[in-house]
């Protein structure tokens, strides 16, 4: 592997990251580079460490060793609530909306994070016009797909430099999956740099620029998506399906 100092460092760079849950080590010296404006997909089996990687970026799981830098700024030393303020937005697995609150209140919490105002709110609602009709509704009563849209809208209220999406299509019906995928593609056109955790091969191939194969807490290899389309054998090697 090339010396990371010699190549373009990218927008978000993870190097040598070790993470633990209590005594159990989950990430072993994980390296990852997200370039500006791309969709990087983390692909791998359950328990490989994909979600942990995202949580580590957010500071929700402490880094025992290694570094995570955003635009050259070190994130590992920050308190968990300061990471989003630096410009990283998170759409957690299972959406994790504040289900007791209305759609509008969930969006307000997103806006408060980096003190964004009405303009941001309008832009985000233009992206998800469906939510505009539901502002007063309790978010827990939305359908699964609508909840996923709200989770993404809430994150985009930060106007983030980097967006972390953890299995956004999990548990949705096919028409909704297509809609979410369209949204990810639209966000890429808008220049949002995204790390996407996915388990479906077809989803990966259609929206990703590059794919990192995560296995046993390590990044085994990162390939361009064209390469993968031409030769999908890597998918079978790491996930055993495809």
């Amino acid at each position: 592997m090339a010396d990371p100092l010699m190549v373009d460092r990218g927008l978000l760079t993870i190097s040598g990251l070790d993470c633990f849950y209590g005594e159990v080590q989950v990430l072993y010296g994980l390296d990852l580079v997200l370039n500006k404006g791309e969709v990087l997909c983390l692909f791998g089996r359950n328990g490989a460490g994909k979600t942990t990687t995202l949580k580590a970026i957010m500071g929700l799981v402490p880094a025992a060793a290694g570094s995570i830098t955003l635009d050259g700024k070190e994130l590992t030393g920050l308190a968990a609530h300061d990471v989003p303020k630096a410009g990283v937005a998170y759409v957690p697995q299972g959406r994790r909306l504040f289900a007791d609150m209305t759609v509008a209140e969930n969006i307000d919490i997103g806006l408060m994070t980096r003190r964004k105002g009405k303009q941001t709110r309008e832009n985000v609602l233009d992206l998800f016009p469906l939510l505009r009709e539901r502002l007063k509704q309790r978010s827990g009563t939305l359908s699964g797909g609508e909840q996923q849209m709200l989770a993404m809208a809430r994150a985009l209220c930060l106007e983030p430099q980097v967006l972390l999406l953890d299995e956004p299509t999990e548990g949705l019906m096919p028409s909704m999956i297509a809609k979410i995928r369209e949204t990810v593609a639209k966000l890429r056109e808008l220049g949002v740099s995204t790390i996407l955790v996915e388990q479906r091969v077809d989803a990966v191939l259609s929206v990703a620029d590059r794919v990192s194969f995560i296995e046993n807490g390590r990044n085994r290899e990162t390939v361009d998506v064209e390469e993968l389309r031409a030769d999908p054998s890597a998918v079978r090697r790491y996930v055993g399906v495809g």
């Binding site: 609530h81 919490i109 997103g110 994070t113």
Partner: protein, 293 residues
């Protein structure tokens, strides 16, 4: 006195109990709801409020109303400061672990209680009410101050509700209560929220205590009953539910007042505890609580 007026008197007494209880229990409920901490020292913050109210009102000469108003402002602030400090010194270091914090707050209970015994003494001391107007009903006269306690409590409850539902601080508190991790992912400094909530919870108990001392005197052991009753109210109403807390406080306060007057205070406590047992068996989340996520 005939039955009707007698019942009215019992209901009025019960309403005063309800008013004070609602405030105290709301503090306990907020702390549990947001921080998931069972604060066994809550009654001692109540006691501390009453004892400080006595100290402040006796230190200030002049019309009793001046001393009382000073106590109503200063005592809760001081109690809030003590709670803020205790949170930083103890609870934060235990990482808010649910079991450890129960033991830790039991420790706080004894520390605060013994400090009060050492510096305040074992006597029960009265605080003069700010005014002594009596409302004359056709059957009996009733303390205007007691009714003003009910009004003050109602105003504070409405204020708390408005803060929780209509303000940015309330939104932050509710987000922290609902999902601590996701709240952090949206820039909410949960430790600062926790410190604030713990202080506010203690201050609500202290305000309730300042309101009640002109009626029931300050004593270093006075925190035990409010603690027990607050737990009863919070369990019946549903932890973390403001509406449930208020409804349960009125229920328990009124039944306590009425049963105490017609039968005996012991029977009132027996029935309240029985209701708690029944609620725990048949509706463990409380009357207005939602099931745990």
């Amino acid at each position: 006195m005939h039955f009707g007026p007698h019942l009215l008197l019992a209901a009025l007494e019960g309403l005063v109990t309800s008013a004070v209880l609602a405030l105290t229990a709301l503090g306990l409920s907020l702390v549990f709801g947001v921080m998931r901490i069972v604060n066994v020292a809550h009654g001692e913050f109540f006691m501390l409020g009453a004892v400080l109210a006595w100290a402040i009102s006796t230190a200030i000469s002049g019309h009793p109303a001046i001393g009382f108003v000073a106590a109503l402002v200063i005592a809760p602030l001081m109690v809030g400061l003590v709670a803020f400090f205790a949170e930083w010194l103890v609870l934060r270091r235990l990482n808010y672990n649910p079991e450890s914090t129960i033991v830790a707050t039991i420790g706080m209970l004894y520390i605060i209680q013994q400090l009060a015994l050492t510096f305040y003494g074992p006597e029960a001391r009265p605080v003069e009410p700010p005014f002594s107007y009596r409302i004359l009903l056709p059957w009996f006269g009733y303390s205007g101050y007691k009714l003003s306690v009910v009004a003050a409590s109602a105003i504070l409850l409405v204020l708390t509700w408005l803060v929780l539902t209509r303000t940015r601080i309330g939104l932050i508190m509710r987000a922290t209560q609902y999902d601590r991790e996701t709240a952090q992912a949206f820039g909410i400094p949960v430790e600062r929220v926790y410190a604030g909530v713990f202080a506010i919870g203690a201050m609500l108990a202290a305000i309730a205590a300042v309101l009640i001392v002109p009626i029931s005197q300050a004593h270093y052991l006075m925190g035990q009953d409010p603690l027990l009753l607050s737990f009863i109210v919070v369990i019946i109403g549903g932890l973390g539910s403001l509406r449930g807390t208020v409804v349960a406080a009125i229920l328990i306060g009124l039944s306590d007042g009425i049963i105490s007057m017609f039968f005996s205070p012991t029977l009132a406590k027996i029935i309240a505890t029985l209701v708690v047992a029944m609620v725990l068996v048949f509706r463990p989340q409380g009357l207005f609580g939602t099931t745990q996520r």
